[in-house]
């Protein structure tokens, strides 16, 4: 376990420093614009980092059900988990391309699943959307 401040607390410290001390000192409009993007990006990271693993595990569960896959033991390593979810999403894409989601109840389930995932992504990338 790492000591306080946590990773997110450190990111927030950097954000406060940039927004409070660096931005007011920037005279160049183009740099100020890019600094606003940088602050926005740090905000995304601070929102996404704490929930990433929980969200990946939930997405894995949802994909297992949606794709009706065997249930192996969940990977412990977050990188393996990430790779698993990526591959399962490839399988989902293939099934959509093959027409399995063109109509019928499975289409509704796919739409509901994707709505859930996209809203979770937006909570990280742009909660005001």
């Amino acid at each position: 376990m790492q000591d306080r401040p946590t990773a997110v607390e450190l990111i927030e410290a950097v954000r406060d420093f940039l927004a409070g001390e660096v931005v007011p000192a920037l005279a160049d409009r183009s740099l100020r614009y890019r600094m606003r993007i940088a602050l926005h990006v740090l905000g995304i990271v601070a929102r996404e980092v704490p929930n990433e693993e929980t969200r990946l595990r939930a997405e894995r569960e949802a994909l297992l059900t949606l794709l009706d896959l065997r249930r192996p033991a969940p990977p412990c390593d977050p990188r393996l988990l990430h790779g698993w979810v990526l591959e399962a999403n490839r399988v989902l894409c293939e099934r959509i391309r093959d027409g399995a989601a063109d109509a019928g109840p499975w289409r509704e389930r796919v739409l509901a699943h994707l709505q859930q995932i996209v809203e979770e992504k937006l909570q990280g990338s742009n909660p005001d959307f």
Binding site: V41, I96, R97
Partner: protein, 349 residues
Amino acid sequence: MGVSPGAAVERSEDRLREGLERFIARRSGAPAAVVGWARLPGGTLRDAWGLDARIDAGPLAGSHRLVYLQDRGAGPLESRLRREDEFRVLSVMHAAGVRAPRPYWHVPRDDPEGLGSGLILERVDGEAVGRRILEDPAFEAVRPRVLEQMGEELAKIHAVPCDAVPGLPAPPEGKGAAEAGLDDVERTLREVEEPHPALELALRWLRPRMPPPRPPVVSHGDYRLGNVVVHPSEGLRAVLDWELVHLADPGEDLAWVCIRFWQGVDQPGRRGLGPKQRFLDGYAKVAGWRLAPEMIVYWEMFANLRWAVITLRQARRHLTGRERSLELASIGRRCAEVEWELLRLIRAT
């Protein structure tokens, strides 16, 4: 002895300014001076400087308010026009009476002044930042008119004959413009190699609904709020950013303006410049035809999908190391917003 980064930046700006002075003198064939100079907010692909130039003799004698757009890094993508072609497009559009900035010079990559490839254009007064046009009270009176003007101006662009600018990217022989557009978007999505189920659903929705082939038009390719200069009393003054011009179905441009992301037209829960119909009416008035409502739905789905794959491709430019850029990297996080919109459109049909 340390040199502050500020001083280094100033020196390189001085060199650039002096280089531009020599360039303008050489190309105008007369003594020239840059009398005003300011860095402007550029785009994701280029840096911009505003310059006031004084040319002392010859056909261009007088004062000129200019902008120098300098390619950043690798320059335009393969999918974009070469700068000399963009310059030709601007010349044709300007001559056809389209409100495009008057093009002055194309700066080639190997120019002896070492300026770096780019364009020198007329600097048009007004506001291009969409957020300010939407929110600044100074634009309140002109806002209702802008959408109509954007429709009228797009019809003027589409009226320029396809062969007026030779060599524009065009649908392959024997393939309709709509099909070529969809193939293009699908190819880009495959190249990204990241699974995006929502985008696959949109592709499945689009294929069987593809409109029948119609003759292509000169499509601006990025026609939207953010690429137009608006004046507080006159409204639309110029259409910018012509590097994505290609031959396409007119529906591409018509719907691009209307997608949620650009905030140009009113959306459920979000105000834009006004109702979509006002833009479409402006177009119909000048073009003499209008897109059937079911075709607008098709093209809006297409426009959103196209924007989604562009966000992915922009992020790849950063990720592959070809052009490290915070702005490009952050665009990758925009894809989810477009996926949300695509899912909404799919559910609505």
